[in-house]
Amino acid sequence: MTLTQLLVLLLPELVLTLTALVVLGLDMIWRNGSWSQRFLLWIALIGSVILIAVTVLIWPLTGTGGLPIAFATGKDFGGDQVPMMALDPLALFFKLFTALVLILVLLASGDYVRVRIRFRGEFYALILFGGLAMMLSAAATNLLMIYLSLEFLSITSYLLTGYLREDERSTEGAVKYFVYGATASAVMLYGFSLLYGATGTLDLAGIATVLMGGMVPVHWLVYPALIMVLVGLGFKIALVPFHQWAPDAYEGAPTPVTAFLSVGPKAAGFAVLMRLLLTALPGFQLDWIAVLAGIAIVTMTLGNLVALWQSNVKRLLAYSSIAQAGYMLIGLVALAPEAQSWTTGLNGLLLYLLAYLFTNLGAFAVVIAVENHAGSAQLDAFAGLMRRNPFLAITMFLFLLSLIGIPPTAGFVGKLFVFGAAIQRQMIMLAVVGIVNSVISVYYYYAIMRQMFFGEAVDTSPFDEGPGLRVAVGVAAVMVLMMALYAEPFIRLASESVSLLAASF
């Protein structure tokens, strides 16, 4: 592969890196607080839009098998040519996903940042770098690259969480996030080192070849390695025994960052989990499916039950997002080997992620709007929202419906595919627990609705949410409806993105 080819294949990553660097550089030139600083947001947004264009542009290059991305200079490195990433449909899906996350988060963050954040250029740059790390981890096919990109994403997230340095809760959330996250990644690294020792390679496909080859009696070793890797990824996704950091980090972080955290690292974690388990460890399917099924049940239930007691909407959404991760996990647990069926579990997982992206980011955009105006994200800040800003109230209503999974919303499509896969695989228990949990969740989502429609507000004057937020909320709402009413292209996208993984399995 020549350098030019390689650069073309890496265009999405390059675009994002360049945008972030330009933002950092211009921020250095433009004085803090000067008028031209508002262009930083525009530059970041334009970069994200270009990212979509570039991704679509290189889509045809992948071919059916996906392209390994490996770099070697003029000299021949012989057998040492190590593919680090892959440009396959799954990676492309997550590139698109990242671009959407970035656009929505950036749109929603404009006013919030202007009021509360000191170092704006660095803030936007960190968010863009976080997006870069998401794309890298979704594309990585080498343990080194996976560890590196996940750490990249984590470190960016820690820093963003603690970005409000004057705010106790922000720094406190960051400390907890850091302490738990760093421990988890150290454990995961140890697991990776065991996998490397067992197989002598870092390449995911190579690991599978060695393990399936049966030449080496190292099977015992894989179990501790598997558990350690699951611990690390479980932290990133905030699955239940490893979720303690999530509520604090989510509540403390600046709200746009919370929106990013609730979608970004989760999606990256799921991407890595899928790739790692399906590419490297398919031979141990029975083992990890059993573990993950248990985790899924506990995660859904605990997330939902604890959410019942929350009075802060940010924290409530944090627990809700833990529960949502549990639903998504069903998709991975219930993956069906026969690829021709309408739901392979995996495509359900991707659909759910996509639905969750629009729904959750939309909901957080509304929270940001309310917080910008009322100064807090407590439940009573939402009181009488219907009278004060009907647009926000109605869209929020839509997002909450989608979170519950009531048609005609995106959340319904996601749940349909995920639970459908579970029923198809005869995992009735999982589906039942999932549905019961969805019913429980109605209660706390209803608490928000009740405040919005029937709550008595102290201040009843209408307020304006500002153009950025209006666009973000509007786009998210339209997409939530689109995914339900015009679902076919989305389903096709998700199915095609996982076809390779499902086939390799």
């Binding site: 040492d80 690294l189 140890y190």
Partner: protein, 103 residues
Amino acid sequence: MAIPLPWWLTVAAALFAIGLYGVLSRRNAIGVLLGIELMLNAANINLVAFWRYITPQALTGQVFAIFVIGIAAAEAAAGLAIIISAYRRRRTVVVDELDTMRW
């Protein structure tokens, strides 16, 4: 090589366990960070030992270890900045005293 591979792995496992104990038992965030560094080092010893005994002709393990050290530096810088920032606010870095938020 006079020392069989499992010896190295045992030492690394012991170091990992010690680090994990430090992480779980320390109250001070910087103390936790010290434990994390021990765990990372245990993983590194594993990587280098595996490189030496299993794939001595390729560079894989050594390069991974170099990357781990670099990442650890970035992590420590970010983590300590966060801890110092929290200390400025609260005058404590004891993890269980950071309890503004509950449940």
